[in-house]
Symmetry: C2
Subunit: 335 residues, 2 copies
DNA sequence: GTGAAAGCGCTAACAT
DNA sequence: ATGTTAGCGCTTTCAC
């Protein structure tokens, strides 16, 4: 690591370290000629400021941490891109970490990010997270946190979401309007507010449209493909009749599609399917799957810009601490 | 950021900073009782070491940088998970950044990572990268680099890949054995060694099996879905006859599948399709697509473990600097 | 316009 | 077993 330091430049030019530092930071009190001399030598020697030293001095890192369940989900990948976009443009760098849907790992990551003295944190919590102390601790230590999508109650900070309740309500309303009578809901873990709201939206739409809410039509499960396969198989094995499925997310919807096709049922003739998130895959499977588009990239950008305002102490962020971005029902072949 | 420091602990206990430091680092020369006292207070006050300070002192960061074209590609997401796995277990943290297939951005990222004094870097180069100076510079400054998948010539360091040439050769051989006569190859950017090798493998398989290599059956293009759509449309519009397509990767194969279905051709009846990478989507589209499985997670783990050996100075890494991991042809409905 | 000195938090000789 | 001192690279107040 034979890095070039300010001292090296100072020695080469017979100047003091402070002069070099000032010149490099474009301090106006430095003689333009000296400045040029210094800049030229820095370029020639390949000087790069040591961010660790600078940050140590400055008492902050200009780094933003991200914790998401899994980056391989298209949704999270896009959010991360949105965050990076805004962050880079504001002079922040970004550290991404994955919780793998594991509360323990989420804690470790939060801690490791804190040790790196991140200025702020953007989080979508893991499925298994019940205790929020690791976030609370960071907040107490002055780390600003913004949650998106997978938010949770009980933490007083900014949150960026879509209206899960309404999206879900509208999707189910659309199914009913199209003529479907017995709509199954494959729900997600209810400790995630988004899943809970999707469930509640489903329930209310059922009731508001004059149907009976039947508990046997709801299965609580995970958020992966195999959960979808398992849950719908369970319903079928029990002999429960249904003509549509509203899944908590796209992988679960895909799982349903796979099993339903396998046992020879038609989509949407025998069973209609709606997913959630507009994962690209829903467009390419046959039949393509109706879903709800979440503005992932926008969520990332919004989360980052709020976080950066928070970090910079611009507390004049007006209005509610929960920002709701628009979502959209995308109708495809499966309904 | 009112963080608790070693000095705070020292003041509270009437001890010196060095004693605190030693105790916290489990130095055996500290009295067990004092040690316990210190650990307890640290826990009580919520002390967390300041990694920036520690790293500044230690002259290295224990951070590994990653640069990939786009994390949203399933392949890269999995590689990253593999890297994280190994890195965390060896006490390293990971900074992920995306080049977005843009050489300029790749340079910026490399530089920003260097400013953070990363100990090592794992890279899959962008499509548009021609000049490799930004990597060469880092290497000269002592940053260890390992490339994977999208490697490039002219840099003397470790590389983790699959045998693109052979994988491609075998895939085409299989097509020929199955009876296909006129096999189109939608090739990728030839500055990427992997794409070049896939092209060369295709060419050699054609020749070795007694077919004529026809230039009109090869189209050089990008690596996304729309490239696939565009390229195959081009071939069709030109009136060129073909009965199979070997695509440089899965998105391109998906693109071909979309267009081919749209104009009413049967897969594999009229056109067979093979992709590359075993993206999950290839399994779920109808018909499912034959592809070549790359051990993404393993590539990540391998790259990370090599890099960490390099960082730790274990130069007794035996054998070639190019590590070839096994790939596998996955035969599905499209062939 | 430039320099000297101190300090960010931590560690490691070198004392005692 | 513990304390003293110095220094990692950088910035910044206070001098001149």
């Amino acid at each position: 690591m034979n890095q070039v330091t300010i001292k090296d430049l100072a020695r080469h030019l017979g100047l003091s370290a402070s002069t070099i530092s000032r010149a490099l930071n474009d301090n106006p009190s430095i003689n333009p000629k000296t400045k040029k001399l210094i800049h030229d030598l820095a370029a020639k020697l390949g000087y790069e400021p040591n961010v660790m030293a600078r940050n140590l001095k400055a008492q902050h890192s200009n780094q933003i941490g991200i914790i998401v369940p899994e980056i391989k989900h298209d949704f999270f990948a896009k959010v991360i891109s949105g965050i990076e976009e805004v962050a880079y443009n504001s002079g922040f760098t970004v550290i991404v970490s994955q919780s793998n849907e594991d509360e323990e790992r989420e804690k470790l990551n939060a801690n490791s990010l804190y040790m790196n003295r991140i200025s702020g944190l953007i989080v979508s919590v893991s499925q298994t997270t019940n205790n929020l102390d690791h976030f609370r601790n960071l907040m107490e230590k002055g780390v600003k946190i913004v949650f998106f999508d997978r938010i949770c109650d009980g933490l007083d900070t900014y949150k960026v979401v879509i209206d899960d309740y309404k999206s879900s309500y509208d999707a189910v309303k659309y199914l009913i309007a199209t003529g479907y009578k017995r709509i199954v809901h494959l729900a997600g873990p209810q400790n995630l507010l988004s899943c809970k709201n999707r469930y509640l939206g489903y329930k209310q739409a059922i009731i508001d449209n004059g149907y009976n809410f039947e508990e046997e039509l709801v299965v609580f499960g995970g958020m992966h493909e195999d959960d979808g396969i398992r849950s719908i198989k369970n319903i079928i094995d029990k002999g429960i009749k249904f003509d549509a499925v509203f899944a908590v997310n796209d992988p679960v919807a895909i799982g349903v599609s796979i099993l339903v096709k396998k046992i020879g049922l038609n989509i949407p003739g025998d069973v209609a399917i709606i997913g959630f998130s507009n994962n690209p895959i829903t467009e390419f499977v046959t039949p393509s799957i109706t879903t709800i588009d979440q503005p992932a990239y926008e969520m990332g950008k919004k989360s980052a810009s709020i976080l950066i305002s928070l970090i910079k102490g611009k507390t004049k962020l007006t209005g509610s601490k929960t920002i709701i971005l628009p979502s959209k029902l995308i109708i495809r072949e499966s309904t």
